[in-house]
């Protein structure tokens, strides 16, 4: 680990940077990155063109692309928290989906109880999830019990089962709805865009940008990256590694909280809803390069598109089929993910 210059303002991705720190940044040489981005973009364009031929209706394909991108932003936001936790703590958090469900029920509860605007519940759900994340990490994962990979898996998986069944017990299985007052829709060159989806997309992008800024431009972000790169090294230069771990885990779950509030008006809220997003989020994380926050956003957009195009290519098939086909191809060609580095 030759990297000790993390205190300086980051220059545009120096090629000398090595090791897991790079998981937090998209760069291993801007040229190669651009090439890969161009190749990905090209493939997407070809995929859209084929979809156009297959369906024969420009409007249908255009609507699919718009819908896919809007949904993809949300997938990206969910995956960002997951990838952050993985990149810094090396923990595969299976409870991410369940925490998402918890946040949705918090949003639902607050809207029901106080009549607050659904988006204002961000002020409750995000801090709540931040706290839950911190408690979970401190209480369950940071001790010796959470040290080994097997224990981490069992703990997070067990936690997800516990949370889901707890929600089932307290709220029942009856699906709930969070209505967005004054929802509207408009036509974007023929494609219908609903306000709630647009807000969710923009919110996801904004939170992604905030997270990116936090990691790249603040002292705290620098500490996170230092811990990710080399824990003992960071400890030597005075970074409180355990605290950074806890805060990073908490930020990761807070991302799930934000995503949950933004998505709440779009979905039917049920205790088992986390499962639905968990699978997709894991695929996005691997696709974008594990630990790569910007990669997670791009991966999310890609998976959103793939889902929609799959329904055009193979009508009558689960959209997960296309998602996993793409997933396997990417793993085969680039095991480190589209925007990850070889480790």
């Amino acid at each position: 680990m030759s990297n000790s210059g993390t205190k300086t303002e980051p220059p545009p991705a120096p090629a000398v940077r090595r090791g897991p720190l790079a998981r937090l940044s998209p760069g291993d040489g801007t040229g190669a990155l651009l090439k890969r981005a161009a190749a990905t973009g090209g493939l997407v364009a070809v995929a859209i063109a084929i979809a156009l031929i297959k369906s024969g209706s420009g409007l249908v394909v255009w609507q699919s692309v718009v819908t896919g991108l809007l949904m993809g932003g949300l997938y990206g936001l969910i995956a960002m928290g997951l990838t952050l936790i993985f990149g810094v703590l090396d923990i595969v958090n299976f409870a991410h989906g369940a925490l998402l469900a918890i946040a949705m029920f918090i949003a639902f509860g607050v809207v029901q109880g106080t009549g607050l605007h659904p988006y204002l519940t961000l002020l409750v759900a995000v801090p709540a999830l931040f706290l839950i994340g911190a408690v979970v990490h401190r209480g369950l994962l940071s001790g010796t019990g959470g040290a080994s990979l097997e224990n981490q898996l069992l703990i997070t998986l067990g936690l997800s089962l516990l949370l889901e069944n707890g929600l089932l017990m307290f709220f029942g299985a009856e699906p709930k709805n969070v209505a967005l007052p004054g929802d509207f829709q408009f036509s974007l060159f023929g494609a219908v865009v609903s306000g709630a989806r647009l807000y969710a997309f923009l919110g996801a992008i904004a939170i992604g940008a905030l997270l990116f800024w936090l990691l790249r431009r603040t002292r705290f972000g620098t500490a996170i990256r230092a811990v990710a790169a080399n824990g003992p090294g960071a400890e030597l230069v005075g970074v409180n590694v355990r605290r950074v771990h806890t805060l990073t885990f908490a930020i990761g779950t807070a991302c799930a909280g934000a995503a949950a509030v933004l998505a709440a008006p779009l979905v039917t809220v049920t205790p088992t809803l986390g499962e639905q997003f968990n699978i997709t989020a894991f695929v996005v994380v691997v696709l974008g390069g594990m630990g790569n926050v910007a990669g997670a956003l791009v991966g999310g957009l890609l998976i959103g598109l793939v889902e929609q195009l799959t329904t055009i290519y193979m009508d009558g098939q689960s959209s997960l089929l296309g998602v996993f086909a793409v997933f396997l191809i990417v793993l085969f060609l680039r095991p480190q993910g589209l925007f990850g580095r070889r480790s």
């Binding site: 990979l149 089932l168 095991p335």
Partner: protein
């Protein structure tokens, strides 16, 4: 290393989940029939998913069955047996076929003269096998699949109209209602979830519609478990120029479809639910608000024009504080069928009860053309699917005319 770690994790997760799924089912052996059937109360087994994702409906149905038992006891129990009381033995299927199977075995071993259940076709399929093997009648309340009734089972009966019957009726009603409205249907787009339930409904509807000279297409399916948006699919409907959209889905996805329809506003004359899990539910009206206004749905339904049904539902509302759903009314009917079988058989011998059920006639609380009476394959030949419509925030029976509470309004809100 990282990819391997994740792969290992996912693998471990799959193994754990599989192990969790296998747990809890301890088959108690196939023997043990008729333990103490001749003394004490007459036991009727009720198998419903009272925990898990379908717990709300499962609870409803268990309570419906309980109300039937209470009603029988209030009238003096089984008269031919000197007024022996009836008792409900309950089992929780958890929505899982293998749990349903072991619970069915348990109830039979405990002395149940008959079983009612189970809300889910996959669970009913397994329970039907257990019932057949033990020669105990199994009266299904809610079970859509028709496949169970093509096996030549002698102990399986069903109160609700089957999936093909509903889809066929949906096609017939569509043709008739659209003609009466002066806007005869030309082309139906069919949106359905992709498992047996949705695909089966689409196939049966298409076959029936084509016999009536109605074109069906495009046929669009989706995965109900993962779908998060149906805007693109509804855009496809709009592009196809269909004048009616038929939807066969579960609650959550049908609500998503309604949201997408409101956003895209395709040029339709009607939205037509077929065995739809949402469009005839009062909850859909609450959740969807104005979205669902004037949606049609062809399905089994409690008989809203029957005074006794009204009394039953009022009693349920008083006792449990929630409106009684159709599933619960069907469970009520199913218990009545078994109780009357015992009454006519004059004993608790399961085979005699079976014969009595096969030839019995029971007044239903659900919509039918006559009393519940079973065809040789065990299906209720007088079950009648009914067309409903959301009108001013109320789910109303609108067709056929003799079951109608009000007239069908063949139109959609965004094109009037």
């Amino acid at each position: 290393m990282s990819a391997r770690k994740l792969a290992a994790g996912l693998g471990a997760c799959a193994v754990l989940l599989a192990a969790a799924g296998c747990g809890g089912s301890a088959p108690s052996g196939a023997a043990g029939v008729a333990a103490g059937r001749d003394e004490g109360p007459v036991k009727i087994g009720a198998l419903h998913p009272v925990s898990g994702a379908n717990a709300v409906d499962g609870q409803q149905m268990r309570r419906g069955a309980q109300l039937a038992v209470d009603a029988i006891n209030a009238k003096g129990g089984i008269r031919s047996l000197g007024g022996r009381k009836v008792e409900l033995e309950t089992g929780d299927t958890q929505g899982k076929a293998e749990v349903g199977q072991s619970e069915a075995q348990r109830l039979i071993s405990a002395g149940a003269v008959g079983l009612v259940g189970t809300y889910q076709s996959a669970v009913s399929t397994n329970v039907a096998v257990v019932a057949e093997r033990n020669r105990v009648p199994f009266v299904m309340d809610v079970t859509a699949s028709d496949a169970i009734f093509s096996n030549g089972y002698e102990y399986s009966f069903r109160v609700q109209p089957g999936s093909a019957a509903i889809a066929g009726a949906a096609a017939r009603y569509l043709k008739e209602v659209s003609q009466q409205a002066g806007k005869p249907v030309k082309k139906v787009a069919f949106l359905h979830e992709q498992t047996d339930f949705g695909s089966g409904a689409a196939e049966a509807f298409t076959a029936a519609a084509e016999k009536l000279g109605v074109e069906v297409g495009p046929n669009i399916s989706y995965d109900a478990l993962t779908v998060s948006d149906l805007t693109a699919q509804i855009t496809q409907v709009k592009a196809s120029g269909a004048d009616v959209l038929a939807v066969a889905g579960y609650y959550r996805d049908s609500l998503l479809a309604a949201k997408a329809i409101a956003a895209v506003k395709p040029r339709l004359n009607a939205v037509w639910g077929v065995s739809n899990g949402a469009y005839d539910q009062p909850k859909f009206v609450t959740d969807g608000g104005a979205l669902g206004e004037r949606y049609f749905s062809t399905n089994y339904h409690f008989d809203a024009k029957n005074q006794q049904t009204a009394g039953l539902r009022a009693g349920y509302q008083r006792r449990y504080g929630a409106p009684m759903r159709t599933g619960a009314v069907l469970a009520y009917d199913a218990v009545q069928v078994i109780a009357q079988g015992v009454e006519r058989a004059g004993g608790t011998d399961a085979e005699k009860v079976r014969d009595a059920i096969a030839s019995s006639k029971v007044e239903p609380r659900t919509v039918g053309t006559g009393p519940i009476a079973f065809a040789p394959n065990g299906d209720n030949k007088n079950a009648l699917p009914v067309l409903m419509q959301v009108q001013n925030g109320q789910v109303k029976q609108v067709y056929p005319a003799e079951k109608a509470e009000s007239k069908p309004n063949y139109s959609v809100t965004w094109r009037s």
